[in-house]
Amino acid sequence: MPEKMTMNNGETMIRINNLHKVFGQDLHVLRGIDLEVKTGEVVVILGPSGSGKSTLLRCINFLEEPTAGSIEIDGVVISAGERGKARDAHILEIRKKAGMCFQSFNLFPHMTAIENIIEGPITVLGQRKKEAIPYAEELLDWVGLTDKRDEHPSRLSGGQQQRVAIARSLAMRPKVMLFDEPTSALDPELVGEVVDVMERLAREGMTIIAVTHEMHFAKDVADRVFIMDGGNWIEDGPPEEIFTHPKHARSRQFLAHILK
């Protein structure tokens, strides 16, 4: 990161309290999730598909509306079921604090790489183009894509698109980064470049919650690993413990499957 992030261990950055998500009338996907993440901590969430990992991540920045429970990021608290203007403002607050990276990148196809990156600062933070560009260029350099500055996303590889997407999120100077399977849509040879960026981000002290199947990231970069199944945690702990002595039978089964 061009700008050093303050590594401030010990303070709580994210607090999720008894979070439930029900789709439709009875599809109970999240069943009372609790999670506390400290500043600078890197959390990886693992679990079989359909266990609710993505839904949890999407509830954190309110792309999905939680059905019950509360979410707190950097002091901004929203409880499910709240309504009104104040709540809408709080959601925007939280979204500014939490950057998100999607599996399918979702870059804006009508904008070049640099335009994608300055879009947030200009439209959301009200910066002028002149103010936004220098930092955007630093970020582009930081993800190693200075030479793609004026390319449209359609001219970039998947890995390059995802790196621009990460830079786009970082341009908002978020306190937290949420990664929703950032490498799942990539060709195998392009995974490394994205994981590399995530790793550097973690080293610089960014608070991260990542849903990913990149075992290297989970083992070597994560501070804590959570295993989810059926809409709640079945186990959590430091990676060395989770990967060597999983306590729960379901975790052992799942890990055996993905570590093969």
Partner: protein
């Protein structure tokens, strides 16, 4: 990070001669088709001219009145441009209404599209011109002074309203489909950056939807140029009204109708080529993105 310098040379195999022959054959076929197509068009055109001679068209008469008829092109274009402008505004508002979660806004937009698409344009034109003053009179009787004058539209405004409101309804559906064709991931990415719904629409959805919408909208415009002839019903001296008048007066409707038809045709060909240019321009660079 990605462009790796290869040190091992990749063996390059040449295209074998038998493959070359196949490629040449394909190229030949393509050329022959192009030549034949041009020939067919030429024959078609010659046939058209021959037909005009056979039915004994009075070309001198046509030439004489050409200038007079063409003087109506200004009205035709003016009515079309004003009406398409109105239609575009109505279409955007209508599309937002159709997608709105506000029941009042949504129902008004839905009713508008249904009513207008469900009735003939001809009837609508007379509505604006002949029936609206009657509504005005009724309201005036209820004590709203001065409203009848407001509701009595001269021919051109009535025509612009009729065409604009009618095409606006059709285009509402075009715009709605354009907005809905943008992937949900785009909205989510915009939201995740902290954009409000309004910002998302303006910065992310509309610019992309526009690319989808432009081709059908220019089609609508071309269709409208022709439908603008309906304002002749109200005695506006536009292209077709002039042609019909002169044709009737001298009992040479055939000449006049053929001429005005050709004028519309040429206009549409020109507009079509402009449309193609715009589309080519908009398609540059940013195609198809996941």
């Amino acid at each position: 990070m990605d462009d790796s310098a290869d040190t091992i040379p990749v063996p390059i195999s040449k295209i074998p001669p038998e493959a070359r022959q196949v490629l040449d054959k394909i190229e030949q076929d393509r050329k022959r088709f192009r030549v034949n197509l041009t020939l067919s068009f030429a024959v078609l055109l010659a046939g058209l001219f021959a037909l005009m001679r056979i039915i004994n068209l009075d070309f001198r008469f046509m030439f004489h009145w050409f200038g007079f008829i063409m003087a109506g092109i200004g009205y035709t274009l003016m009515v079309s441009f004003l009406a398409i402008t109105l239609a575009c505004v109505l279409a955007v508002v209508g599309a937002l209404g159709r997608l709105s979660k506000n029941p009042i806004f949504n129902s008004i937009a839905t009713a508008y599209v249904s009513l207008i698409r469900g009735t003939p344009l001809l009837v609508q034109v007379y509505m604006w011109y002949l029936a609206l003053p009657q509504v005005g009179a009724a309201l005036e009787d209820l004590g709203l002074h001065g409203i009848q004058r407001l509701f009595t539209l001269p021919a051109i405004p009535a025509g612009v309203m009729a065409l604009g409101v009618c095409y606006g309804a059709y285009m509402t559906e075009t715009v709605r489909a354009g907005i809905q064709s943008i992937k949900i991931g785009q909205t989510e990415a915009a939201k995740a950056l902290g954009m409000t719904p309004r910002q998302t629409l303006r910065r992310v959805i509309f610019p992309q939807a526009l690319r989808v919408i432009i081709p059908p909208v220019s089609n609508e415009f071309i269709a409208m140029i022709k439908d603008s002839s309906l304002v002749s019903l109200m005695g506006v001296w536009e292209l077709s009204y002039r042609a019909i008048k002169i044709g009737r007066r001298y009992f040479q409707s055939l000449e006049m109708l053929i001429m005005v038809a050709l004028i519309y045709w040429v206009m549409c060909i020109i507009l079509q080529s402009i449309q193609e240019k715009i589309e080519a321009h908009m398609a540059r660079g940013d195609r198809k993105v996941s």
